[in-house]
Subunit: 121 residues, 4 copies
DNA sequence: GTGGTCTAGACCACG
DNA sequence: GTGGTCTAGACCACT
């Protein structure tokens, strides 16, 4: 489980971590009931504060990605496989709706955007 | 020249203004040397602080969208028409590169992304 | 706006604060768009850490009770009056369902519970 | 003697056990001097740590629900039948006083609460 | 060992 | 002035 954080990013550290872990979960890279490393362990490895990791873990739990067993640790929540691919699609579509709005604002047609995609891919 | 801001948006107000004006400029909606309304006027209309407008104007000047004539006001910088469409393309492509990275992270292929575009458009 | 916290309570401080403020809001004691006191002010008055107040404010925002204006402060969210009484009823009923389960476990009938209510009121 | 525990519950495991056993005792489901199963047995069945069961047993002993005979095991304390029903009433009333306080805080009258009871029962 | 709460103090972004 | 983020370190509860 590799996590990479950049202190110069515009996004707060806890969110970078949240984004990466939630992505791994919806992509099935972390299996159901997988035990996440202890927050102190992650903190030491990434050389950032325990609090910051905890914050990321909290948001993941609140959004149903993981659950906590008192005194045991944090685990990947049970997701039905179809639910996961649904979630992936929802996340992608939500972002795309915003993105398309931006490109439209610049005067691009659907074809223009598709050209851009091919160019950028 | 209509500007709309929301004080509860996740984006800071000065950036909302920056985004809208820069968009109008690259889309040719504001012609070369067009005189922007006075800072105090905009501040009064939008009912926000002069400092906030000033900040947006500053960033627009820093990025070459506008220039200031002391004691006269702020004006849209001179852009050759082809330069404008170049700029539009550059902005769009820069964003698309980031966006595509995200969609790839979710496991989507170029075709998947194009499907998404059509769906969202 | 009076808040009372007890450091000996079984509930964490931030939750005591959350409970009291959310109660005031659903009871209409704090009007829509009311500006909450600054977290530093509350922290000083209650003689507890800014962080703890912030935590309470965060949960209130996440649950839609308040909203934040960058650089301005936190405000009571707009609630339609009927929505408020609905929310009150929902909160009360949710708790009662749990409570009744407990009393049933002790072997009490509905009449027994009602007697208890009268006695305790 | 069935005990059910959830490791993800908001209540600590030892307390879930305490609650269930104390309830069985005051309800007369476990007779006086009934010999509780050995700590290790319970631990194995519930697949939780011996320490956790021990903690529950300790609190039950502290509160006079059970007593320990060294080398023999733990037994349900002797309760006169009327004492048991008194205890049940005391427990119920103590909780109800707290509950009523909450409902009053939401602006409910005694009648409102009684309505709620009927609805929830 | 695990996570949950709280502290005191710092720095930054926004208005 | 406001809130948002982060730090380092402490203490507690649970297993």
């Amino acid at each position: 489980m590799n996590i990479v954080v950049s202190s110069t990013s515009e996004l707060p550290i806890y969110q970078q971590i949240y984004d990466q872990i939630s992505r791994m979960i919806v992509c099935g890279e972390l299996p159901n009931n997988y035990c996440l490393p202890a927050i102190r362990t992650v903190a030491k490895e990434l050389r950032i504060s325990v609090i910051t990791i905890k914050r990321a873990w909290e948001e993941l739990e609140r959004d149903g990605f993981i659950y906590t067993k008192a005194g045991k640790g944090c685990f990947v929540a049970n997701h039905a496989p179809e639910k996961l691919s649904d979630k992936r699609e929802t996340m992608a579509l939500e972002k795309m709706v915003k993105d398309v709005e931006y490109y439209k604002g610049l005067g691009l047609s659907a074809e223009d955007i598709i050209e851009l995609v091919k160019e950028a891919y």
